[in-house]
């Protein structure tokens, strides 16, 4: 205030009229509100775009690490006959496998990490700790962000009955298909009674039960895969859930290095 460098009126007179005080206060409040608005706008930009930059980098790191681990692992000739169960306990944040969903885009693929905490979900879709591993009986639960942080599951609502959801592990491809009636496209018409898609409350943990929507303590009736994300977009009020069931036997990577027919379209 003491050394104005331009011809501003601030230093001209000290004996201001009472109206000047109110004008200063009003201007201060106005500028504060405008600033707050800009900060909120910047936060939107952060959530929608900047988190993607961070998440993409971390996802690439997980994917590279997983590929490197698999490439370095010694070949096990027995897996072609019966794919060995993946390690029962994967450390948090470590890659579990790759998820391929052709419906979400050609070559759509994400490395899935173990754990569903904020830290893991920033790396990529997260595998619910304690749920089945790829190909095992039970339910493979995977959560992913819908908007921001890489937006892996932005278009999860586009999945239709019969769509392949493929899990790739070190030795094999596991093809799951979205439940429902592929003939009519009705997601709710699966013979098992389990819907292909549902919107549930965030506390509805039954969706990742060994048999989806059944008692969590009940034994599994098959091999399922469940994807969860937030719903509606930009909100966390509900959860969008997609259920799929293992379709046929696993395809050994030795037999199909480029992917199972469900992915390659052969």
């Amino acid at each position: 205030m003491s050394t104005p460098t331009t011809g501003s009126p601030a230093g001209q007179d000290r004996d201001r009229r009472p109206g000047d005080l109110w004008r200063t206060v009003a201007r201060g409040v106005g500028q504060t509100l405008v600033t707050a608005g800009l900060v909120v706008l910047l936060f939107v930009v952060y959530e929608l775009y900047v988190t993607d930059l961070f998440a993409d980098r971390r996802q690439d790191a997980v994917a590279d690490e997983l590929r490197a681990t698999w490439d370095g692992a010694p070949e096990d000739p027995t897996v072609a006959a019966a794919p060995a169960a993946p390690p029962a306990q994967v450390p948090l944040g470590q890659g579990v496998g790759f998820l391929h969903v052709p419906r979400l885009g050609p070559d759509w693929s994400r490395a899935v990490v173990e754990g569903t905490g904020p830290e893991q979900l920033e790396q990529g879709p997260g595998h619910y700790v304690g749920t089945a591993m790829p190909g095992q009986p039970g339910n493979v639960g995977i959560a992913g962000h819908r908007v921001g942080t890489g937006s892996p599951f932005l278009d999860l609502d586009r999945l239709r009955p019969g769509d392949p959801v493929v899990l790739e592990t070190a030795d094999a491809w596991f093809v799951y298909r979205v439940l429902g009636d592929p003939a009519t496209g009705d997601l709710l018409a699966d013979p098992s009674g389990i819907p292909g898609q549902q919107v549930v409350s965030p506390t509805d943990v039954d969706v990742i039960s060994p048999t989806p929507d059944a008692d969590p303590a009940a034994p599994a009736t098959g091999s399922y895969l469940t994807l969860t994300t937030c719903h509606p977009k930009y909100s966390a009020r509900q959860r969008l859930v997609v259920h799929a069931r293992l379709d046929g036997a696993p395809v050994a990577k030795a037999d199909a290095p480029g992917g199972p027919p469900a992915l390659t379209g052969d």
């Binding site: 501003s8 500028q31 936060f43 569903t116 904020p118 819908r146 942080t149 549930v200 965030p202």
Partner: protein, 52 residues
């Protein structure tokens, strides 16, 4: 506040403009890379899991 900052930036109008833009960039970077990552996990938009 903005008037006060503008008055205290040194130099002529061009210098003030450049410095003001630098200030805006610095504050934006601080928000984007330090403040927002720190507060985002505490906001409720990012919950994608089912739990109790």
């Amino acid at each position: 506040m903005y008037t006060w900052i503008w008055r205290h930036l040194p130099g002529g109008t061009a210098s003030k403009a450049v410095l003001a833009l630098l200030l805006v960039a610095a504050v934006s970077a601080l928000l984007l890379f330090v403040v927002f990552p720190a507060i985002a996990p505490h906001l409720p938009y990012d919950d994608v899991t089912v739990d109790q």
